[in-house]
Symmetry: D2
Subunit: 189 residues, 4 copies
């Protein structure tokens, strides 16, 4: 690994799993840029809300433009950060639906792509259950999902100010910064 | 268990995980009525295509009518049969999205409800991976998911005639009939 | 359900997933008797430590006596409570090994048997990851695993006094009592 | 990546999940050397049979020598190939137990280590369910598990001659060769 390589500028994109305005997850996604290591920029992908339900008959006609654009932006990014709530012990349907469409595009947008997962929930468990389902999905999508550190923000209302759209808990911020640094190291490998 | 109870007429409903017309899964769902034991009728729920992406802000205004109707039909049914493809090693997003909405309605439509799962796929594994994710979701929804027999129809093109919308493989039909009988026994318990 | 039925005396057995003396999990298992509803007695199964590694060649000769005894005690019980740590995001090997042996005995000891799961861990997540793996195992073993309430005791050192072998946290005790009542209701169904 | 790097000799080790002599899985593990790409040697780790049940009290005294030796051999290898049956829809207890011990040794033997998984089973599904549990375990162990190709050998009796201890199915051999090449590429990255 050369010096040049280790300081290569990186562009990550965020994929948000919830639709509501001013969600905790949106606050997390918005906070990533300032927690990222030097040389890393972070942009938001389009909303999963804009992607219709996957339907093979629709695909046979044409891919929705929002799918093609999201796929292209993932392909050209150096890594993807999925920030999502857990719904019913698994991945939100709307997020999974976006992945279902993306998986049909070629070249496979997630293949070999560094991926980090961040979940948050009101309860103690912080969305852990959704993370392992998402990891199983990523095996098929051939994403390169970071092992550690895992970001599972439990008791989210005490750590994030949704109105101000800010993470208030310092140890949560530190752990996220650590994950972003690990993702950058993976992307520069 | 009294004689009356064991012959009580039952109404099951099917929840279909794919949107395309004339899918293998639709063929399976349509075939259930003729494979059901005596005294069991089987009707289709509305399409998951008609349920918008879950959005807490939308929910705060009003539940979509398609959600409320589906929830009510599940509540009044004696059991639910989920027939679905596996997408990307998990539950199709559109199906999961319907469950995400349904989970917010009260009383909880799946609570204590007998549930059977049927998957089918082109490959050998028959959708098994989606089934265990769905089972984990059902823990939260408090559904009473039948353990056995599991219906995972692999190599589906050799067992189902999608054009004729018929199951052609006799052992698949026999196994489905066995599952429906087990679901009826569970519902009459 | 008759009055007689609803007050039928029940015998539950506990299956402990850890071997160390005076573990938090042993403290939980020992506390169950006093948290159980009236009419329910709770006894410990033998230790998973006494069951050798599963080996089909050994099975072909003879089942280890400890396996046969554990299987018989499960068969004659009204329900099983599995109390276990999570090791490496899954079920402890020694516990899984006991289940591997038990699954080979006939009649299937867990078939139709009410089962409750209790995990505890030093971290926030309380062993949740092990629970869903155990639930998947129980699909094959045909156990009837209680959905709710789930007992995942996080930050265990603040809730259990391992030296005194007592649960000190009142809300943990209340939740366990609630689970045992739910398991009793399931067993009397 | 330099030419030198791409031809660097590699040593992989196999970790076998079953204990019986002449199992299908042993046949697979023995066949790997001849299916490996040039420059790759493959050796067997010790048997999981020689590792006692994990017990924190035993660990407090001393690690069993078989654990320390296995850990050291993993650390010094370029990759690990886990060849295992699926028991009861999950990882065999004896294999998981070995991982439970290994996880307590330092430095973490699997951290950053390329890992490939191979399962085989009599049924159609080929052990897929065990693979995803193993992958979840590997998140904690920080192993770098290869995504593709996945080796799940279904209907194993038609593809492997257990008596001759040989894989007879050519497409199975080809897929395994492809996986070993992918693991080598990952190890040389």
């Amino acid at each position: 690994m050369t010096q040049m390589n280790s300081s290569r500028p990186l562009r990550f994109v965020t994929l948000l799993g919830s639709l509501r305005r001013n969600s905790y997850h949106y606050a997390v996604a918005r906070s990533l840029a300032e927690l990222a290591p030097e040389g890393v920029t972070i942009d938001a992908l389009g909303s999963v809300a804009d992607i219709p339900h996957y339907d093979a008959d629709v695909q046979a006609e044409a891919f929705p433009p929002a799918v093609l654009e999201m796929a292209e932006r993932i392909r050209s990014a150096d890594g993807v950060i999925i920030v999502t709530p857990e719904y019913n012990y698994s991945v939100p349907g709307a997020l999974k639906n976006a992945l279902d469409w993306l998986s049909r595009t070629t070249p496979a947008p997630f293949a070999g792509k560094p991926v980090a997962i961040q979940t948050a929930s009101p309860g103690a468990i912080g969305g852990a259950r959704a993370q392992y389902h998402l990891r199983q999905v990523m095996v098929f999508l051939d994403g390169d999902v970071l092992n550690k550190p895992e970001i599972m923000i439990g008791n989210v209302s005490s750590k994030i100010d949704a109105e101000a759209q800010k993470i208030t808990d310092e140890s949560t911020k530190a752990l996220i910064a650590q994950q972003l640094a690990a993702l950058a190291a993976m992307a520069r490998r």
